[in-house]
Amino acid sequence: MRYAETGFNLEVDLTRGNIERVRTDPAWTELYLGGQGTAGRLLWDRVGPEVHPFDPENLLIFSSGLLHSTPVPGANRTTVDTFSPQTNLYSHSLFGGFFGPELKHAGYDKIILRGKAPDLVYLWIHNDKVELRDATHLAGMGALATADRIREELEQPEAQVAAIGLAGENRVFMATIEHANSSASRGVGVIIGDKRLKAIVVRGTKDVNIARPAELFGISSPMYRAIYENEFCGDTMAHEDDEEFHVNNFAWGNARKRNLGFWNKEREERWKAITESVRLRWTGCYNCPKDCHQAIRLPGKQTYFQKCYSKLTYAMAAYEEIDFNYEILALTQEYGLDGFSTPQVLAFAIELYEAGILTDEDLPGFPSSGGERFFYLVEKLVNREGVGDALANGVYHAARQIGKGAEEFDHNSMKKFEQVPLKLKMINYPYFLMYATGEKMNITQIEGSYPQVPIADKEERQRFVDRWDAAPERFKKWFLEWEPRTHPSVEAAVNICDWNETMHYIDDAIGTCAFLSSFRGQFGGRPPYHIYNLPQFISHATGLDMDPDKLWKVGHRNRNLIRAINIRRGLRRADEKPPEDHWKIRDPEMEKRLLDEYYKFKGWTMDGVPRAKTLRELELGFVAEDFLERGILTEGDDSAPEQASAGE
């Protein structure tokens, strides 16, 4: 009997219309748990480095997490994994809502899509009945409107839908996949569009077995109140009207400059009133007591959902106010556009226009205000019309396609992907490492367990550490030693990066939301889920004998497997460079040392390639063999140093 998972994947060949229910290997669950971990293994095994993201052989994998459809509160994040045409690397995104649990109740852990449909279709999964249906009548329809229309058409009000809007259909690189109150971004919407799949619709009514049900429910039910009352988890900033943190610290325009002095009490009051006038309610995701998403309705417009810092990204990129942000989101959410990358692409185009690189010939009738320009450019982008065709490929590619010096304006991408617009003064050691070495493209998917800032007062610092249940011992020592305006040691920085990313790899395998664990230790240090209590949830749910050391190792295994996928596609040390102006004051010597030490710590070569010994210790021997065969590694590399475990 399989516990906490269904033990079956759904394989869909869109070219031939073939659909199969395939039994999975339980050994993979022990090794990678599920979600991103098992998806990574599938991508490694089945999508070679020669496959271009737009080839039919590219896979697009929707994975439930191992703890989805168990009573564990907040386990609801579905992962989407594929290869991105923007980076030509591994592309990974997550979305909340209700999709993963519904998929498991339909009897599947994953949906594995390959090929391309001859015309626009949608996939309808109703327990054992699975079919591809014509979706040509839905072409051009908004993402949430599509979901409503399909539910009506199938007379299935409870079906869960993940759909794309026009952006995905037109293969815009920053297209999202929209589901309920959530979106999957970072380069997965373009692939589902390329595969001509408008939507996936799921309705499931089957049971999922749990190994030790009473024990699991016993530890899960107190979590509702614990999470609800924990002020340090959920999207804490979404509920604040004081936007000073983002408005003052993040750069405006095309990630250009900080707008200090913009924020004041008067503006806070005005923005608060605007937000309250358009918010219908706060909403949550499956089985989670936190309400992180705003349902927004502007007069005469369709309801949409706003989450995370997209509340400000468009306004700051266009130098506008929050009412503009809510207005443009009503449009971009239905088109299905990523609220992080899109504003940067649009602001980049405005800079090019102002520099005379783009002219009135490229942008006929270009308006004069930032807001109007954004609305104008969104249409070009989403329809790939004129210069929009280049912009739709992201800043990096657009700059090179447009030429005439446009490359100079591409200053905020790394690994060809738009980064969060942060332009700070002094280099930050752990952050340097997280930016440089992350495979998940956005810092929010890497940071989060170790506090961002030290505590000045020594007694308060001690009190913080005393109740810091989430932290392995070594971090407590480093935090106690951390004085304001000082850097952590290189050793600490390397470990901090390691801990932060490991927790994300764990979340993304079991499906727990980062807002309850991996992202939520950095302010307050009290994430409801952490390395010491998660093993118990996993053990009771699956029957596996999990403990903190084993779980840590799974996190490392998945991290190295994803790394290996990118290494096989050509990623090396030379690519691991945060944007030059990310910090004003850089320290090239220290940066080199940090990267050296991090690679050493991870058991990688100085070029960032996991060594054979490291891979074999993580039961990734097949990766080592492949690397040796391809000449990526040569036998006889220096042996890797011991890795720190969770318990130290």
């Binding site: 009573p71 089957k206 049971d207 049900p213």
Partner: protein, 183 residues
Amino acid sequence: MTSEHTKETKIVKEIKIDLDKCIGCRACEVACSAFHARPRYSSTNPARSRIRVIFDALNDVYVPIRAGDYTPAECTGRHSYTIGGKDYQECSFCGVACPARDYFKEPDSGLPLKCDMCESDPTLEVPMCVQVCTCDSLTYHEREVEVTASEPREEMEVGLEALANKYGWERLMDTAARLSKKG
């Protein structure tokens, strides 16, 4: 013995539903299905839950509905009302199991499900769905009411009434008359 009915008090259990507070997380569905699974907690399957959140997100409708008593008639459920500038759908006001939808049937057997206020052994002080509803959309209340104690009704009487509710008295009587002639 007296033929007069005696006055008694009894506790009526109620779950009040505040629609404005619902965040649509469906924790109530998860907890309900877990509690009623056999063996207990052996699965969490919202399709077996006796409380379900009806969503119409684009119209801002989030309505937790309990599997209450069966209602003999369907309403059309298609009217909407505007109160205080906000649009409501008709079902926002209705607290009973909705026969217009396919809710509250065991997915395997198709047999109806009914909320028992978690009174199975051991009875929970507060029903499971309310316990996990941290946003207080669901709240539990008890009130004491005076009831007129009456003789327990006969099984046949209950059965006949159910048949009458389903088919109407006229058809029931006709059928009874026809069958009795055959006999």
